[in-house]
């Protein structure tokens, strides 16, 4: 019993470390993309003074995956920022997927199932509306 716990703990630590690396990389990449988009945005229209308290929603194409990707692909600064934000949202989602794989390697099928439930909820929140 004690031995089994120790082994599990060692695996936990390895998994934790890999997940930590994934989170840090994801955050840094997203930040770089957001910064790039932000700089391009300021260069292209930083002289405009925006009205912030009257909102009519974001442009239509910035609330869907396809819209953001196509905008970023065409180097629209604001779509690049939104793409970076999307990457940031995707980072913890990737961590759940990564954990599920880690649990599968450990043959911890109960937690493969639990991670999959969380992953499904996250995908649903992002995609289906």
């Amino acid at each position: 019993m004690a031995h089994a716990k120790l082994t599990r703990s060692a695996q936990d630590t390895r998994l934790d470390r890999q997940i930590g690396l994934l989170l840090r990389t994801g955050t840094l990449v997203s930040a770089a993309v957001i910064l790039l988009g932000g700089v391009l945005f300021l260069v292209s229209q930083g002289h405009l003074v925006p009205e912030y308290h009257v909102f009519e929603g974001v442009p239509d194409h910035l609330d869907s995956l396809r819209g953001i990707l196509s905008g970023a692909f065409h180097f629209q600064p604001i779509a690049i920022v939104q793409f970076g934000i999307l990457l940031l949202i995707a980072t913890p989602i990737a961590r759940v997927l990564f954990a599920a794989i880690g649990f599968a390697v450990e043959r911890n099928y109960l937690y493969v199932a639990i991670s999959s439930i969380v992953f499904t909820i996250l995908l649903y929140s992002l995609i289906r509306h």
Binding site: L15, T27, S30, I89, L110, L122, Y124, I127
Partner: protein, 264 residues
């Protein structure tokens, strides 16, 4: 925009400060303020997780299991927020600020001794070990349904108000489930990002994530957490915590006042 960046840089960070700052000082619609705050909450959680992971306190199994509750709650909260009027959200936000100010100024409870395991915890393998005074101490979660329910509530608050609601998460794990405090806080930080991602998805697809607002806030918070994290961790003196609690409570009163008088 520059001011938003500076505001986030002041080191206060966290959703509890960002939303009132954007809504009260910059007169930004509270829905967009919450959307931007959620993004910054994800950034903070993911960015600081690497540091916590190194300490080896966080329990990924407990975190993952409870994330079922927090993500479902977060989606509910996000649906409520995107259909609720600004006034209501502002008042709830104010109440939560005052409550969290009270909770954070309270002293940390002493470490609990090892208690007999809960059968449900054994079945779900909600146990682990953490180093205490150089020795590995075994712990196990208890009162799982209560903790799970509280986590659902924490998720709902997070999605509704764009905050990490780490305090409620720690309360659920530390007090309800008798998980050691250090494990609770680090696991909670781990969970915050996943929880916020669930509600951020709803906000994004409903058009409440505005890149022009989220960009400076997120970059500011990230820069702040990368540069200032170390010094902030050290500056945990009781005096700092009291000042912080007073500021939060004052913001709470201001939010309720603005909500009631309809100035937002």
């Amino acid at each position: 925009m520059v001011a938003g960046f500076l505001g986030a840089m002041t080191g206060l960070g966290g959703g509890v400060v960002i939303v009132p700052l954007l809504a009260l000082a910059f007169k930004i619609d509270i829905h967009y303020a919450i959307g931007a705050s959620l993004i910054s909450v994800i950034a903070t959680s993911s960015g600081s997780a690497a540091a916590y992971v190194k300490e080896g306190f966080s329990n990924i199994r407990i975190g993952m299991f409870l994330e079922i509750a927090t993500t479902l709650g977060a989606m509910l909260g996000a649906y409520l927020a995107t259909s609720a009027p600004t006034k209501i959200i502002a008042i709830i936000f104010g109440v939560v600020l005052i409550v969290s100010a009270t909770v954070s100024s309270r002293k940390r409870p002493p470490e609990t001794k090892a208690l007999p395991s809960d059968p449900l915890a054994v079945r779900l393998r909600l146990d682990g070990m953490y180093p205490i005074d150089g020795e590995m101490q075994v712990y196990s979660a208890r009162r799982i349904p209560l903790g799970f329910g509280l986590m659902f509530g924490a998720g709902t608050l997070s999605g509704l108000l764009g905050i990490g609601s780490g305090a409620v998460k720690v309360l659920a794990m530390d007090e309800a489930m008798t998980i050691p405090f250090k494990v609770s806080t680090t696991t909670s930080n781990f969970m915050i990002g996943v929880t916020a991602a669930a509600s951020a998805g709803v906000y994004l697809s409903r058009g409440y994530i505005n890149p022009v607002i989220a960009m400076p806030v997120t970059l500011g918070v990230l820069a702040g957490s990368l540069l200032g994290a170390k010094s902030l961790v050290k500056a945990k003196a009781q005096a700092v915590r009291i000042v912080f609690a007073v500021v939060i409570a004052a913001l709470g009163v201001e939010m309720i006042y603005s909500g009631v008088t309809g100035r937002l």
